[in-house]
């Protein structure tokens, strides 16, 4: 007993507790940065709220960077460019200065909408045939188009913004230097693209964590990108298009078998032109014309849907899905028949987006069966004519708006990183058609056909909806579904974005299977199969269908709502 007492002296107990604490602190030491706490269920529809301004983007740090710019007195264009730079640092796998895109701008004081096109172009020396029999571009350097992003951002900033290049790069530099915790989305995409990164960026790249993909929670930093942005901020974009960075881009592309030269970069210029305009019921829509097909097809789809009793059919009901899928198949037939780069071919855009042509398509669609063939439209008067992304929405306190979609094409682009620059080069050449007789055939200086569709909708001449999405050829289908969800099915903005999605297309005039998220009722799949559709069920919230960002302006309530897609890491920041 005495011995036992001796064992439990004050000293022993104190010494035990101290040791215990030491052991605990060892086992509980922080090993990695924590991911910011999302709402309990990130897929639960949630509208961000603002009154003066709002930025919605695919990463919380980028959205917050844009909001800070608005609060500092920057306008929507300043904030959009700030957000875009910040996305290069925070969501580098989807867009950046090595890519291209489109921006729709609404200038409130002028009540004018304009479009800035900074789509990548094919290098001057590109060979006529770059696709192999499997549809791949090899070597990878041939997949790189001349980047337009930086030229487009700076053009918009100089013409419509109020801040300097140094101002709008500040937050991006901070993000790149300090880093952030990698999300599930980042980690998964990083794993998916691992092979490409190992091949083209090498095991030592910052886009891999000591040669392995990043796990959720790992710290991602990109000091080289910070250095590049500092250089651009101090020397201007000539550094990128004519200076040291241009030389690094050309070297990196050509080392991987590409054909870009310094002249290609020096000659790159963005283009500003009027928007494409359409209507749906009481709403007017402004979006982008070719070389993106997205704007044309959204207007086309809305024209087709306009006369259908979609409200009666019900949201995501089998008749609604069937009819919209049949419409999509017609639209894809037109896409491959007519659309390409307007600098090189003439296209019947006015005819394609006319209500008259939509009625012709509606007339052919059967309510209870599939067509065997989906012909492209024929327009007598012009019969001789030849012929993975991110989205940012911004509105400022004066009502100026930017709807910006940009990309490096596939996630992580080519995986090629010019030496010590920290940014990824696009693989946009994959957007050209394999068919040399296609209107979207490859050629020097040509811009490949895109599906991006940044848009702004107005109701009675007042801004109502700002919307856009990544997702390749699913973009215009997904955006159409979101618009119908809001206007016809009375959903709130984020409810409309999170609602289950579907997609189909036609190829060589033949129907392809419908891809649907797995959240539809079993009965819906069965009904569609009975009609004759083959179906392919995908994940419940599948980024295959894009990652839409939107802003809804409730004029009567003086409230701005932001909707950010949980299929990616969307986030809204309002004030």
């Amino acid at each position: 007993m005495r011995k036992m007492k001796a064992l439990f002296t004050k000293k022993t107990i104190l010494s035990f507790i101290t040791s215990l604490l030491l052991v605990f602190s060892f086992f509980c030491r922080p090993r990695e940065i924590k991911i910011p706490e999302p709402p309990s269920d990130r897929h639960q529809p949630y509208n961000f709220v603002g009154r003066k301004g709002m930025v919605v983007a695919a990463h919380h740090l980028a959205a917050k960077a844009g909001l800070e710019m608005l609060k500092k007195g920057g306008n929507a264009i300043d904030a959009a460019v700030t957000t875009a730079f910040a996305l290069n640092a925070s969501e580098p796998f989807a867009s950046g200065i090595g890519g291209g895109g489109f921006m729709v701008i609404y200038l409130a004081s002028e009540k004018r909408v304009t479009v800035v096109d900074f789509r990548e172009k094919a290098p001057s020396g590109i060979p006529r045939e770059i696709f192999n029999d499997e549809g791949k571009i090899k070597p990878d350097g041939l997949a790189v188009g001349v980047p337009g992003t930086l030229a487009g951002w700076v053009y918009s900033l100089k013409k419509y913004g109020t801040k300097s290049l140094a101002d709008v790069t500040q937050e991006a530099i901070k993000i790149a230097e300090n880093g952030f915790a990698v999300s599930q989305t980042f980690s998964r995409i990083n794993k998916d693209q691992y092979e490409k990164l190992i091949m083209n960026a090498g095991e030592g790249t910052c886009y891999l964590n000591e040669g392995f993909p990043y796990e959720p929670g790992d710290l991602f930093r990109n000091p080289e990108l910070a250095g590049t942005l500092k250089l651009i901020a101090s020397k201007g974009i000539d550094e990128f298009y004519r200076g040291g960075i241009a030389q690094k881009v050309v070297k990196a592309v050509n080392e991987k078998g590409g054909v870009m030269d310094l002249k290609d970069l020096a000659l790159y210029e963005p283009v500003e032109h009027p928007p494409l305009q359409g209507t749906y019921k009481d709403y007017t829509l402004f979006t982008i014309p070719p070389p993106s097909s997205g704007g044309v097809h959204i207007i086309q789809l809305l024209n087709i849907i306009e006369d259908w009793p979609v409200k009666k059919w019900g949201s995501n009901s089998p008749p609604y899905i069937h009819h919209l899928c049949e419409a999509l198949r017609f639209v894809f037939a037109d896409r491959s028949r007519y659309l390409g780069d307007p600098d090189f071919i003439k296209m019947p855009v006015e005819e394609l987006i006319s209500k008259k042509y939509a009625k012709q398509i509606v007339f052919q669609i059967k309510p209870d069966s599939l067509l065997d063939f989906y012909p492209f439209g024929r327009f007598d008067e012009r019969k001789n004519d030849q012929g993975n992304t991110t989205h940012v929405c911004v509105i400022d306190r004066k009502g100026n708006i930017v709807s910006l979609t940009q990309s490096i094409n596939h996630f992580f682009g080519t995986g090629i990183v010019p030496e010590n620059t920290g940014f990824l080069l696009n693989n946009i050449m994959y957007d050209f058609s394999h068919d040399l007789s296609s209107p979207n055939a490859l050629g020097p200086y040509r811009r490949p056909l895109s599906s991006m569709s940044p848009l702004i909708m107005f109701k009675k001449e007042k801004p109502f909806l700002i919307l856009g999405s990544p997702g390749g050829t699913r973009i215009f289908s997904s955006l159409t579904q979101i618009i119908i969800n809001i206007i016809d099915f009375d959903m709130s903005l984020d409810e409309a974005i999170e609602a289950p999605r579907f997609f189909t297309y036609s190829s060589q005039g033949k129907p392809r299977s419908i891809s649907l998220e797995s959240r539809f009722p079993e009965k819906t799949y069965e009904t569609l199969k009975n009609i004759g559709h083959s179906i392919r069920i995908r994940e419940a919230f599948d980024k295959y269908f894009g990652g839409a960002q939107g802003i809804l302006i409730l004029q009567d309530k003086k409230v701005i709502l932001g909707g950010a897609d949980s299929r990616r890491d969307g986030y809204g920041a309002g004030y």
Partner: protein
């Protein structure tokens, strides 16, 4: 004083053993021989990851994402990287049924040749789901050893199957942590 420290040491050792049992089962002795053939079961990108791990572990290996029975010639271990990617399947010109058939044929041939199967699941939670789970359930019971990145076993699917079939399971925190158990598993 000596007694105090001794008692503290004993108590502490006991405490650590009770509170922090070792999560990872150490493999007593190497189970596999080289060379190994690394292939995919589902065409996810993790197959390439496995090859980088094998390279860093200085293992003698061959990588063939779509290996067939004839690739087992002179092979001593078959390493199957589990995880279905529709994109990967598409790129390889395969669908789920064809891929399952390919892997089945490969395992059958391996069994005929007494080549043991090592299963790896490196994609974590993100590489789970209906399709991947079907592959896991079909092929895991045939493994001689399994290494899984912990987040992929949150629901203990791997634990259940391994316990049921008495297969040694090694759980690792991150993909990079696979290196040590992988190296240790080979002679």
């Amino acid at each position: 004083m000596k007694k105090t420290f001794f008692t503290t040491f004993l108590l502490l050792t006991f405490f650590i053993l009770v509170i922090f049992p070792q999560e990872e089962k150490k493999i007593a002795s190497p189970l596999f021989e080289q060379p190994l053939l690394i292939t995919s079961a589902g065409q996810s990108a993790e197959v390439r990851l496995a090859s980088v791990l094998a390279k860093r572990g200085e293992l003698n290996f061959i990588l063939s994402k779509t290996a067939t029975p004839k690739d087992l010639e002179n092979i001593k271990t078959l390493a199957l990287v589990l995880g279905v990617s529709l994109k990967g399947l598409g790129a390889a010109g395969l669908d789920v049924a064809k891929e399952k058939e390919r892997v089945n044929l490969l395992i059958e041939e391996a069994q005929k040749k007494n080549i043991p199967l090592l299963c790896l699941h490196l994609g974590g939670e993100a590489r789970r789901g209906q399709l991947s789970d079907a592959f896991i359930s079909a092929f895991l019971p045939k493994a001689k050893m399994v290494i899984v990145v912990k987040s992929g076993n949150k629901d203990k699917l791997f634990t259940r199957i391994c316990e049921e079939h008495k297969i040694p399971l090694v759980e690792v925190e991150k993909t990079v942590d696979t290196l040590e158990p992988l190296k240790n598993a080979f002679k």
